[in-house]
């Protein structure tokens, strides 16, 4: 995943000059501007016309303006404020039954038309070794339409000073509450995307995302031990209103840990982080063995992502990602044989619709109106994630609408939509769920994660671990990781809380493809219980 590269990026000094992957740095006010739709349509029509004249049977044009803002702090210092912009056009065609792609940052109609002809030439050249022509599912003509993330407050419009002051207040609160070090940042995204195709669609979209991560560290100087606690926020498809910290957006666990859904109180979480990081320094180490795990949505999203989201990507299943991300255990014969992926309680759906989610858009990057569909129904595998040139393999005639490119210069391909665990139908609170657990561990927040290239064997850590004994939360423990085999894990799902506990988690940095592309995706769930899962102790001694 590209998160590691990103974390290195955030530590930049002068090295930040090159801003790899995030485009060119711009002034803050640039982030508030938009391009005229009429101009975008004229550019798109130039490309569509040139491609068609050159022999393309299909063409789509994406004019993308990708804006990012980073505010990066540690303790009492603002380390960096960076604004970036990347603008250009990507043109994809089918000629001789084969895909071709070209992109340019020069938006003159002459340059765009030349790129369209280049894409056709590449398609024709590649068609010589093509063994089967592209079968593109029909996408209805949308005409001229638009979609916008339903934000309340555009984060790009909030003055940098206000953002820096918020983060410095967060850091001060953590230090005052016992932290030794704290890193916090804001990462704001606005994708202004215009899509046009020879199918007769002209789609203008304005997509916003926000992320406010922090890491709080506590140190015991005498023992040399250190422990960190990451913030419990999620990256969201929202505006700056996510940081309002309203009471309606909070969920309290039975043992008093505050979790967040539609609103984040960063200062409150910083104080809790400091106290909990310090508590971790002396928490007892877990005794390895089988435990019933009660997994909070702030943790479970990542397990869903790795063990359900990825193995059900159809291109992985078919072998197109074999050299990098890998293939999948969930092969297509399992679809036909009604593979029992999880217990009867497990229904997992894909969607590009959920309000506040990172995946929510009106239309995907090949002009298909987005929707919701089931992947696992009552425990049985029922579908995959597929796009226009794949759905015929599933015997379907319409794309699922989950095609995405991370830049105007990247080729769009199948990317994971939001993949979420449906809430339990019967009324069930977390407290009631825990009452039934004799020997268990309650895990909050995501931590270390690793899974094999076919998505069978995974290991997950977390942020906060609480031992459950005889139906009661006994106290914090440390050094916990669980190991699982995907089908056994989901078949061990014994209870799911009701919709009142449903929350989203997610990532800005789901990586896939060569050259690599990132994508932002959310995963929703209510707290769920998994019986008899293998827990290991991760403490080691370096002597």
């Amino acid at each position: 995943m590209d998160r590691r590269d990103f974390m290195q990026f955030t530590g930049i000094g002068l090295a930040g000059l090159m801003l790899p992957g995030f485009g060119r740095a711009v002034a803050a006010e640039t982030l508030l501007s938009t391009m005229d739709v009429g101009l975008k349509k004229a550019i798109a029509d130039a490309a569509l016309g040139a491609a068609t004249s050159a022999g393309a049977s299909y063409c789509d044009v994406r004019i993308g303006r990708y804006l990012n803002q980073f505010v990066i702090t540690r303790e009492d210092k603002v380390q960096n404020v960076v604004n970036t912009e990347s603008l250009g056009v990507g043109i994809r065609v089918i000629a001789n039954g084969t895909w071709g792609f070209a992109a340019t940052s020069d938006l003159s109609t002459a340059s765009v038309a030349a790129a369209a002809r280049q894409a056709v030439a590449i398609a024709k050249a590649n068609s010589k070794t093509q063994t089967a022509p592209v079968q593109l599912a029909k996408a209805p003509a949308m005409g001229e339409v638009s979609w916008k993330t339903p934000i309340v407050k555009n984060a790009m419009a909030v003055p940098i000073k206000e953002k820096a002051e918020l983060l410095l207040a967060v850091n001060a609160a953590a230090l005052k509450a016992g932290a030794d070090y704290v890193n916090s940042m804001l990462f704001l995204v606005n994708e202004q995307k215009y899509f046009a195709s020879t199918d007769g669609s002209y789609i203008d979209q304005d997509v916003h995302r926000i992320w406010a991560p922090m890491t709080v560290t506590a140190i015991d100087k005498t023992s040399g031990k250190f422990r960190s606690r990451d913030g419990l926020s999620s990256p969201m498809g929202m505006g700056y209103e996510y940081l309002d910290g309203s009471a309606a957006g909070k969920v309290m666990t039975p043992n008093g840990v505050v979790n967040y859904s539609s609103s984040y109180d960063m200062v409150e979480d910083a104080i809790a982080s400091a106290k909990q990081a310090r508590e971790k320094l002396t928490a007892p180490s877990v005794k390895p063995g089988k435990y019933d795990l009660v997994l909070d949505p702030s943790h479970l999203w990542l397990t869903i992502h790795e063990s359900v989201g990825h193995p059900l990507e159809l291109d992985r299943v078919l072998g197109y990602e074999a050299n990098y991300a890998g293939t999948s255990f969930a092969t297509m014969d399992k679809l036909k044989s009604h593979f029992k992926y999880g217990s009867d309680k497990v229904t997992i759906f894909a969607d590009k619709l959920q309000p506040g989610s990172l995946g929510a858009v009106g239309y995907d990057d090949e002009g298909v109106k987005t929707k919701r569909w089931d992947l696992i129904k009552d425990g049985t595998l029922v579908n995959y994630q597929a796009i226009r040139d794949q759905v015929h393999l599933l015997g379907e005639s319409e794309s699922h609408g989950c095609c995405y490119a991370d830049s105007w210069s990247s080729v769009q391909f199948q990317r994971m939509p939001n993949v979420s665990l449906a809430a339990g139908a019967a009324k069930l609170s977390v407290a009631d769920m825990i009452k039934d657990v004799e020997k268990g561990i309650y895990i909050i927040g995501d931590g270390s994660f690793s899974i094999d290239q076919q998505r069978y064997n995974a290991q997950f850590g977390g942020q906060l671990f609480y031992e459950i004994k005889d139906g009661k939360i006994a106290g914090m423990i440390e050094d916990v990781a669980y190991q699982m085999r995907t089908p056994e894990f989901w078949n061990a799902c014994s209870a799911i809380c009701d919709a009142s506990d449903y929350r989203l988690g997610g990532s800005f940095f789901d990586g896939k493809g060569q050259p690599g592309q990132v994508s932002a995706v959310s995963h929703g769930s209510s707290t769920a219980r998994f019986n008899g899962i293998n827990v290991i102790n991760t403490a080691r001694s370096l002597g």
């Binding site: 290195q8 000094g13 002068l14 000059l17 090159m18 801003l19 060119r24 740095a25 711009v26 002034a27 803050a28 210092k77 603002v78 380390q79 404020v81 960076v82 604004n83 792609f101 940052s105 590449i122 590649n126 940098i160 030794d180 070090y181 560290t217 140190i219 100087k221 040399g224 031990k225 250190f226 960190s228 072998g319 197109y320 074999a322 050299n323 990098y324 890998g326 255990f329 210069s409 080729v411 270390s448 690793s450 899974i451 094999d452 290239q453 076919q454 998505r455 069978y456 064997n457 290991q459 850590g461 990781a481 190991q483 060569q514 050259p515 293998n534 290991i536 991760t538 080691r540 370096l542």
Partner: protein, 444 residues
């Protein structure tokens, strides 16, 4: 869009520096032509060429700094990018840790450029794909791979008279070969600076052999085993550990290299005495630019010397605060070893496990650098100096610090970069005792 020559780059950078009214100004100009071809299911899936030049300008008014970048180079564009950086700097909060720009430095040239790589054509890339696919098809195997290559330059100048320019090339090839029934999988990776040193027809044989040899894998109980990690398998673990070689983190008490009671472990014996790593920008096998991100001149120096920690990265700010000399951050990691190949290490092994590749490595506990990950694409049981049979993949939970204290023997280092490591590295195959596998994976 063509790449800039040294004279063109110098002229442009000097023009930019003159435009700025800030206290300090630096400008960095980079450009590259990057090509790639991707194939899967024995077919080419995508191929492309990206050509880009980019200018970044950083200015400082006192301790307020601003950065702006642009990829247009007419006079108006240059003026705009400088003014934009200045506007951002005036708005920025003071950065107490800002360090003044360096004066003129002398950078000895390093051999980072190979003309043969710069001359790669689309036809060459197509041939690499064809040379990978054809032998697989002939053996009823399925190939998926990626070749990426690039030729570019890096140039910079600042208002204190410093200037640097150097060209570089790179080529990275990976290919995964699977049996049609999905029961066997093999892999090969090769990273070269000079594409004359690369031959896909030879490399693909390794992946084919591993794919055929890894079918019908038997399960072995998880536990502690003697392992032979091929260089690519070891590199991922070592890279993770090297991210922790930061003086500030260690001095702050949040690193495995922190000393109890304060300070760091420079000079302490942390690894087996046979473990030596050093940096050398001019190493002919893994050359890197002669400057680091701050413009400091890179030199040859030990990082780990006979098991003792010899070097930690000090940022310019941290070295000043701690009263330490400014030393450039290494661009490559060269680990010493012996003369034996992986095959020769296998011959000398009574019982053990050969690991081709490690995968999805993540930090479990930064206190001990405990890492987890899995084996992939060829894991074999060794008995009496021979590979007896393929075994199912394992998940490991192991610290490279512990691993590098359990060294049995080190082989001959080979170049590793690209997918397997963010550093240019020379890494030997390693025979290690008591490597910890914690569970089995059914993945092939």
């Amino acid at each position: 869009m063509k790449l800039f020559t040294e004279a063109e780059a110098r002229a442009l950078l000097e023009k930019v520096i003159k435009l700025s009214v800030a206290d300090e100004c630096s400008a960095t100009l980079t450009g590259s032509i990057d090509g790639n071809i991707r194939f899967a299911l024995n077919n080419v899936s995508t191929s492309g060429i990206v050509n880009n030049n980019s200018l970044a300008v950083q200015v400082a008014f006192g301790k307020r700094t601003g950065v702006a970048t642009i990829n247009e180079f007419d006079d108006g564009a240059l003026e705009r990018v400088v003014r934009r950086a200045e506007d951002l700097a005036r708005l920025a909060p003071e950065n107490e840790e800002y360090m003044p720009m360096l004066g003129k430095q002398t950078y000895p040239a390093t051999p980072t450029y190979a003309q043969a790589t710069a001359d790669i054509t689309p036809e060459y890339r197509a041939q690499v794909a064809a040379d990978s696919i054809a032998p697989c098809k002939a053996e009823k195997l399925v190939a998926a791979g990626f070749l990426s290559d690039g030729a570019g330059y890096y140039a910079f100048a600042n208002s204190k008279g410093n200037f640097g320019f150097q060209r570089e090339t790179n080529t990275n090839y990976t290919c995964t070969v699977r049996t049609e029934d999905g029961r066997g999988s093999g892999w090969v990776s090769r990273d070269v600076q000079d594409v004359s040193d690369f031959n896909a027809q030879d490399e693909i044989k390794i992946a084919i052999q591993k794919a055929k040899g890894s079918a019908d894998a038997k399960a072995l109980e998880p536990g502690k085993y003697t392992v032979i990690l091929e260089p690519a398998a070891a590199a991922g673990l070592i890279s993770f550990m090297l991210f922790g070689f930061d003086a500030r983190q260690a001095d702050e008490g949040r690193s495995f290299l922190s000393k109890k009671g304060g300070g760091n472990k420079i000079g302490e014996q942390v690894f087996d005495p046979r473990v030596t790593m050093y940096a050398d920008p001019a190493d002919p096998n893994a050359p890197v630019f002669p400057w680091d991100d701050d413009g400091l001149v890179r030199t040859r120096h030990p990082i780990i010397d006979k098991g003792k920690v010899a070097f930690l990265n000090y940022s310019r700010y941290w070295s000043k605060k701690q009263g330490k000399p400014e030393i450039a951050q290494p661009g490559n990691i060269l680990m010493s070893g012996g003369t034996k190949s992986t095959a020769e290490l296998v011959k000398g092994t009574q019982k053990g496990i050969l690991v081709t590749r490690t995968w999805y490595i993540r930090m479990v506990d930064p206190q001990t650098v405990l890492l987890t990950g899995l084996t992939r694409d060829g894991t074999f049981y060794i008995e009496n100096g021979e590979i007896k049979h393929p075994i199912k993949n394992f998940r490991f939970n192991e610290s490279p610090v512990i691993m590098l204290n359990n060294v049995d023997e080190l082989g001959k280092p080979v170049r590793i970069a690209g997918d397997e490591s963010p550093f240019a590295m020379m890494i030997p195959p390693m025979k290690l005792r008591d490597f910890t596998f914690t569970s089995l994976s059914d993945a092939v």
